[in-house]
C-alpha cells in the first residue's frame, strides 16, 4: 500500500474511533503511533511517542494554556463578570435591546482577559440572563446573544485557539493576538448592530432599560478599574513586547488573584474550585495536543498534505474558491466535531496548502478562528448553546438555536468581508512591527 493510502486510512480510522466515543486524544495517539510504526518501524514510533509527550508536557510555550485557563477561572470565581456587565449596562442599557447589547459588550471586555468562550458565556450569562428576563426580553434573543457573544472570546485576544494554531504552524502568537483584536471589536459591533436593528423592527424583543446618571456611570467605571488594569497588563504587555504570551498569562492570573483578594471577592473555596477547573481543562486540552503531535509525524510521513496541496493547485481553481471550499469544510466539520479537535486535525493538512496558495498565515489563523466560532453555536454540537441552555433551563434548545441563526449569518458575512479585505486583519500587526 502507498503511504498516501495508509494516511487516508489513518485519518478515516481517527474519525471512526472518535465516532465510537473514544477520547479524541487517545484516538490520535493510537493511530499516530500505529501508522508511524507501519510506515517506518515500531522503535521509531515509540521514540516519537516518548519525545512528543515529554516535549509537550514540559514545554514553556504550551504552558500558556493552563495559565490562561487559570486566569479565566479566577475571573469566574472572583465574580469580576458582574462589574464588567454593570459598566456595559450603564452605557448601553437605555437603548432598545440595550441589555442584549450590554451583554455583548461585557463579553467583549471579559474576552480581553480570558481565552475561554465557555467561561465567557457562563460568567456573563449568569448575570445577564436574569436581568434580561426581568425586563421581559425575548427568550430567543436573550439566550442567543449570550451564546453567540461567548464566541467572541476566542477571537478577541488572548485566545487558546490562537495559541494552538500559532504553535502548530510556527506563526507568532503575538501577531495572531494583535490580528484578532480589530476583527473581534468589529464583530462585537456587528452583533450589537444586529440586535439594535432587530429590536427596532420588533420592539417587543428587547425593551429599553432605565437610563443611568453620570454618577452611576462613574461608579461602574471605578468598580471595573481592576479589570481595565488587567486588560492593560495582559494585552498591553504583549503588544508592547514586555511579555511573551506565557508571561502575559502568568501575570494576568497573578493580577486576577491579587485584584480578587483586594476586593474580597475570591474565597478559599472559590480558589480551590478555580484550581480544580484549571487542572481538569488542562488535562482535557493537553491530551488532545499530545495526540496531535503524535499524529502529525504520521500524516507528514504519508505525504498527504503535500499531495493534497499539489492536487488542489493542479485543478487550476482560483485561490478564493479554494479558500471558500476550506471554509465550507470547517463549517461542516464544526457541526460534528469539537473546536479544538477541529483545529488539531485540520491545520496539519490544510496549512501546507495555504502556504502554497500564498495566503498570509496570520490572516488564515483569524479565518480559522472565525470558522471555529461558528462551530460553537451551530447544531447539533454547538457547545456554547449547550452551556446557555444549562443557564436558562426554561428555554428550549430549539428556541436558542432559532435565535442563533442571525448571528451566524452576520459571522458569515464578516468572514466574506475578511476574505475580500484581508487588510482588516493585517493592518494592525503590520503597523506595530
Amino acid at each position: 500500500m502507498s503511504p498516501i493510502l495508509i494516511g487516508v486510512i489513518g485519518i478515516g480510522a481517527v474519525l471512526l474511533l472518535m465516532a465510537c466515543g473514544l477520547p479524541i486524544g487517545f484516538a490520535m495517539i493510537l493511530i499516530g503511533a500505529g501508522g508511524f510504526a507501519y510506515l517506518v518501524n515500531l522503535p521509531a514510533a515509540l521514540q516519537i511517542v516518548g519525545v512528543s509527550t515529554y516535549g509537550i508536557v514540559s514545554s514553556y510555550e504550551w504552558l500558556v494554556l493552563p495559565l490562561f485557563f487559570f486566569l479565566a477561572s479566577i475571573l469566574f470565581y472572583g465574580g469580576l463578570g458582574k462589574s464588567m456587565f454593570r459598566i456595559a449596562y450603564t452605557y448601553l442599557g437605555r437603548l432598545p435591546g440595550g441589555l442584549a447589547m450590554a451583554t455583548i459588550g461585557a463579553i467583549s471586555i471579559f474576552s480581553a482577559i480570558s481565552g475561554s468562550s465557555i467561561a465567557a458565556a457562563i460568567t456573563i450569562g449568569t448575570i445577564a440572563l436574569p436581568e434580561m428576563k426581568k425586563y421581559k426580553y425575548d427568550d430567543s434573543l436573550a439566550t442567543a446573544c449570550v451564546a453567540a457573544g461567548g464566541t467572541l472570546d476566542i477571537l478577541i485576544p488572548p485566545s487558546s485557539i490562537f495559541v494552538v494554531y500559532g504553535i502548530l504552524t510556527e506563526t507568532s502568537i503575538v501577531d495572531l493576538f494583535v490580528a484578532g483584536f480589530v476583527p473581534g471589536i468589529i464583530l462585537a459591533l456587528m452583533f450589537m448592530a444586529l440586535i439594535y436593528i432587530r429590536v427596532r423592527i420588533n420592539p417587543n424583543l428587547g425593551p429599553p432599560g432605565p437610563g443611568t446618571s453620570f454618577r452611576e456611570k462613574l461608579v461602574a467605571t471605578v468598580e471595573c478599574v481592576d479589570a481595565i488594569v488587567l486588560i492593560g497588563l495582559v494585552l498591553g504587555g504583549l503588544v508592547v513586547g514586555w511579555f511573551t504570551p506565557t508571561e502575559a498569562a502568568g501575570m494576568g492570573a497573578f493580577g486576577a488573584i491579587v485584584a480578587s483578594l483586594i476586593r474580597r471577592r475570591l474565597s478559599w473555596k472559590g480558589f480551590k474550585e478555580s484550581l480544580w477547573d484549571t487542572v481538569q481543562n488542562t488535562g482535557m486540552v493537553l491530551l488532545c495536543l499530545t495526540g496531535a503531535f503524535i499524529l502529525t509525524p504520521f500524516i507528514a510521513m504519508s505525504r498527504i498534505p503535500m499531495e493534497l496541496a499539489g492536487l488542489v493547485i493542479g485543478t487550476g481553481l482560483p485561490r478564493y474558491v479554494i479558500m471558500l471550499l476550506i471554509i465550507l469544510v470547517y463549517l461542516i466539520l464544526g457541526c460534528f466535531i469539537d473546536t479544538m479537535t477541529m483545529v488539531l486535525l485540520t491545520i496539519p493538512v490544510f496549512f501546507p496548502l495555504i502556504k502554497a496558495l500564498n495566503y498570509d498565515p496570520v490572516w488564515f489563523g483569524v479565518i480559522v478562528v472565525l470558522c471555529v466560532e461558528m462551530a460553537l453555536v451551530t447544531p447539533p454540537v454547538g457547545m456554547n448553546v449547550w452551556v446557555v441552555s444549562g443557564l436558562a433551563k426554561d428555554v428550549p434548545m430549539e428556541l436558542i438555536f432559532k435565535g442563533i441563526w442571525p448571528f451566524v449569518v452576520v459571522e458569515l458575512i464578516f468572514v466574506i468581508l475578511l476574505i475580500a479585505f484581508p487588510q482588516i486583519v493585517l493592518f494592525l500587526p503590520a503597523m506595530l512591527k
Binding site: 466515543g21 487517545f26 519525545v51 508536557v57 504552558l63 514586555w242 492570573a253 497573578f254 491530551l287 466535531i337
Partner: protein, 199 residues
C-alpha cells in the same frame, strides 16, 4: 458501585485503590470523616487528593516562576535563571496529573453524537471497547516514557541545558502520572464491565 469495588478487589489491580469519594464536586474531597469508608475508598480519596495537590502545585509554581522572572527582569534587570526549565519541570507536575483528574471526572473531549443514539447495551459495549483502546494508548505513553528514561540513563549528556538537571527523574514523573491514569482507566473499565453485565 459496591459491585465495582468487589470486582476491583478480585482483579487486585491499582483500580482497587483508586476509589472516588464523590462523583462530582471537588469540595467533597476536602470534607473529612463524613461517613465511614472502606480502606480502598480512603486510599482512593487520598490518591485523587494527592494528584490534585501535585497538579495544583505545578500550576502555582508555573505562575509564580513567571511572575518572579518578569518582576526580576523589569525591576532589577535580573531575570530568574532557568525560568524556562523551571516552568517545564512544573509542567511535568501539572500535566500528567491533570490527565488523571480529567479522566476521574470523565471530562475528556469525546464525540457522543453517534453512540448516544444506540441502545444501552450497545453503548456499554462501545464504552468497554473505548476503555480498552484508551488503556492501550496510555500503555504506549508509558512505554515511550520508559524508553526515554533508559535513554537518559545511558547517555550522560541528557540534562537540561541551563540548570543541568538530569532528565531521567523528570521523565519518571511523567511516567508515574501515566501509570496512575492507567489505574483510573482500568477502574472505569471494570465498572463498565460490571454495569454491562447487569444490562
Amino acid at each position: 458501585m459496591p459491585e465495582a469495588q468487589e470486582v476491583s478487589k478480585e482483579a487486585g489491580g491499582l483500580a482497587f485503590f483508586i476509589d472516588e469519594l464523590e462523583k462530582s464536586n471537588p469540595p467533597a474531597l476536602f470534607i473529612k470523616g463524613v461517613r465511614k469508608m472502606s480502606f480502598g475508598s480512603k486510599l482512593g480519596q487520598f490518591i485523587i487528593r494527592f494528584v490534585f495537590v501535585v497538579a495544583s502545585v505545578g500550576l502555582l509554581i508555573t505562575m509564580v516562576t513567571v511572575v518572579l522572572n518578569v518582576g526580576g527582569r523589569g525591576l532589577f534587570a535580573s531575570p530568574l535563571l532557568g525560568t524556562v526549565e523551571i516552568v517545564g519541570m512544573a509542567g511535568l507536575l501539572l500535566v500528567p496529573f491533570a490527565l488523571v483528574i480529567t479522566e476521574r471526572n470523565r471530562a475528556h473531549i469525546v464525540v457522543r453524537m453517534l453512540v448516544s443514539r444506540f441502545s444501552q447495551r450497545l453503548q456499554s459495549l462501545f464504552a468497554i471497547f473505548c476503555f480498552i483502546l484508551s488503556l492501550v494508548a496510555v500503555a504506549l505513553l508509558v512505554w515511550g516514557g520508559v524508553l526515554q528514561i533508559w535513554d537518559s540513563i545511558v547517555r550522560p549528556d541528557m540534562v537540561t541545558p541551563v540548570l543541568r538537571v538530569p532528565k531521567a527523574p523528570l521523565i519518571s514523573v511523567l511516567v508515574v502520572g501515566c501509570l496512575i491514569l492507567f489505574g483510573i482507566l482500568l477502574k472505569h473499565l471494570i465498572e463498565e464491565l460490571v454495569k454491562g453485565r447487569k444490562k
